[in-house]
Symmetry: C2
Subunit: 407 residues, 2 copies
């Protein structure tokens, strides 16, 4: 992705609270009812510029309306989020509850109401237990700190582990940190932002520049992940920048803007891969690389079609190098291409080229599917563009989880 | 669908060989290697007019090229089909094999080569064992008869049962028969014609009228089925009309054309439902009805989005009336609508309306998912159009079948 080899990006521990001036906390308040944390707060001790991207699903969770208003007003510096109930398809009462969450968190943090973003994830069509949410917000505010682990845990639903990434990069002589915490697992086929992703940076960044950075990074990372083809009504990605690093405020024209953008994209990409790896029931991360298309959009559409195919996903689970399914999924992607010009690889094993099967050891191709990270590559001869998409295998466990999610 | 209540359509036994003048046969020739029939012939003893619809997948099986030529030349009156190997992504040799199949069958039946359509279904990317195909064609030609059961069996892959439908309808004072035989099961998300569907009629029908009839019926039936969202490269539906019934040749303007069209659509619809019901691993037929949209295309897109959602499918398997997933799938269908104007039912139990959950007995809603045929209804308040789509649940067995299809 990054063609400027002078950009050095170092990974550091932590997530959304890794950047200077950010604190976070997460507690159990009884929404999930399973003894796990379910309410989180993320807070910048300084004022922020903020950006967000939202689901394109026509059905939108009530919190997204509140958050969209807040981001449009500018200067969001805190996020309150619960798991267990998505507060989507909940009518007027749901919207009132989302505004109440915003007001309660603003009061607990001592900031103005419009500076709070709100997010909820979980079951659709149920109302939030507001008294529990209220005491959860108070408890979370009381335990804010630089360790974001509790926050990362509080936003999970069927995820099996937390997802935190943080990096540092030099911008105008100043080291800035970009961190992020996300959740994923099911109903993952984002169309602008995945389920929930909270990115923060202590860089000073002009608002329009911040939005452009997040939108572009999202398009190449969260929007390239699919677990099950279902786009959630709750998807949102938020990027907060509080300037604590002391750099000169970044704009799209700043000489070091590419370094900052690459750092944000790297955090988003690593979180996106973690979401795919932890897809519901998944045993493997599947990375599909499409090269040699006329433009990136075509490569992305082809890669997403392959990584989203139930048949490809089941074949990966079964360690069956059934490349016909890969070619078939490319064929129904709505991208026009010449099948005779396609070459296909499972790992390093070439299986198809020149319009016909390529002789190979079946066992070697199957073995390429047996590791925790599977790479499928398609090379077309139509141009220089490329794209990557991420997904996971389709397993018995996916069916079990989703046949009994609410019970 | 049919608003003319004077049209009487009677179901009779049989399938593609039910109409007067058609014979069929199916034998085992060793392509599948599982002791099951794998080569079928369908033959009209009289000349025919013919129509076909093909997959829109960019990747197309070699037989489809041969069949397209034959249908364009006009007068296809026989079909040779094998299961076990799809002869897709097989390069020049695959195309030569498909032409050879056509020539061998024409010789065995004593008709001109261009009057033969060819179809293959099964594993993608393997070459046909042509000596077995050749002896299979001879054997099948020797056992042609009015009983289409062997033919229906020979075209199956992972299907668990044969799919045959036949009806009779009166056209201009003459009783005509329309029959069809299909296969489905996996890689079913047709975009023009399902895997394989062979329809026949002893009506005399003008060619353009026949094509229009098949295209329209396909759009409302086979194209409304999804098992797994994967559009196969081998999909084809063929309709042969041999005129043996002795009716006056039908055109689009014939007074009784609607009766004929409705008979064809009924055969196609019943076959489509059979394909959904026998989807890989399926335990239930899922019928999604969308009403009250501005046009039929919107209703169809909404219905297909719901019936194609892995999360809805898994919820049906788990008998979990998780209606939030239904609303969510409508939301990402790319159809624009007002979620607050939507009403949702599982069976007869209303679960959502006026933008908010509707109080209902959870157990009753779950019970509506426990039968062999599940109906989910969405009613919008935006117009008078409606559409139905069919699918099946997502089960452990689907994963098992597709994790080990080739092994």
């Amino acid at each position: 992705m990054n063609k400027d080899s002078t950009i050095r990006i170092n990974t550091i521990p932590g997530g959304a609270a890794a950047a200077e001036g950010f604190v976070a906390g997460g507690v159990e308040c009884g929404v999930r009812g399973s003894g796990r944390r379910d309410l989180g707060l993320l807070f910048s001790e300084r004022e922020c510029s903020s950006a967000a991207v939202f689901t394109r699903n026509v059905v939108k969770g009530a919190p997204l309306e509140v958050t969209r208003e807040a981001v449009e007003a500018g200067g969001v510096r805190a996020v309150v989020v619960n798991s267990g109930i998505a507060n989507a398809a909940t009518g007027r009462k749901g919207l009132e509850d989302a505004y109440a969450m915003q007001a309660l968190a603003a009061e607990a943090l001592g900031i103005e109401v419009p500076k709070l973003a709100v997010a909820s994830t979980g079951v659709i069509g149920e109302h939030l237990p507001m008294s529990r949410i209220s005491s959860g917000i108070e408890a979370a505010a009381a335990e804010l700190g630089r360790d974001g682990a509790g926050f990362a845990e509080a936003i999970l639903t069927t995820d099996t582990r937390t997802k935190e990434v943080a990096v540092q990069v030099e911008v105008g002589g100043t080291t800035v940190t970009v961190g992020g915490t996300a959740k994923g697992s099911g109903m993952i086929h984002p169309n602008l932002g995945t389920m929930l992703a909270f990115l923060t940076t202590d860089a000073a960044v002009e608002k329009a520049c911040l939005q452009e950075t997040l939108s572009k990074a999202t398009d190449r990372t969260f929007n390239r992940v699919t677990v099950d083809g279902d786009t959630s009504p709750s998807d949102v990605a938020i990027l907060l920048a509080n300037g604590a690093a002391g750099n000169e405020r970044l704009t799209l024209n700043s000489p070091d803007y590419p370094a900052f953008a690459e750092a944000v994209e790297k955090v988003a990409r690593e979180l996106a891969k973690e979401i795919a790896r932890d897809g519901e029931g998944a045993t493997r991360l599947v990375e599909v690389v499409v090269e040699g298309t006329r433009d990136e959009a075509a490569a992305a559409a082809l890669a997403k079609s392959v990584v989203g195919s139930n048949l490809v996903k089941a074949a990966v689970f079964g360690e069956d190098a059934n490349w016909g399914r890969v070619l078939t999924a490319m064929g129904y992607s709505r991208v026009s291409f010449d099948p005779d010009g396609v070459e296909l690889w499972f790992g390093l094993v070439k299986v198809f080229g020149g319009g016909a099967p390529v002789e190979h050891e079946e066992a070697e191709a199957n073995a390429a599917l047996a590791s925790g990270e599977v790479r499928i590559t398609a090379r077309l001869g139509e141009g220089e563009a490329s794209a990557v998409a991420w997904g996971c295998d389709l397993t018995y466990e996916y069916v079990r989880i989703n046949g009994s999610y609410r019970t």
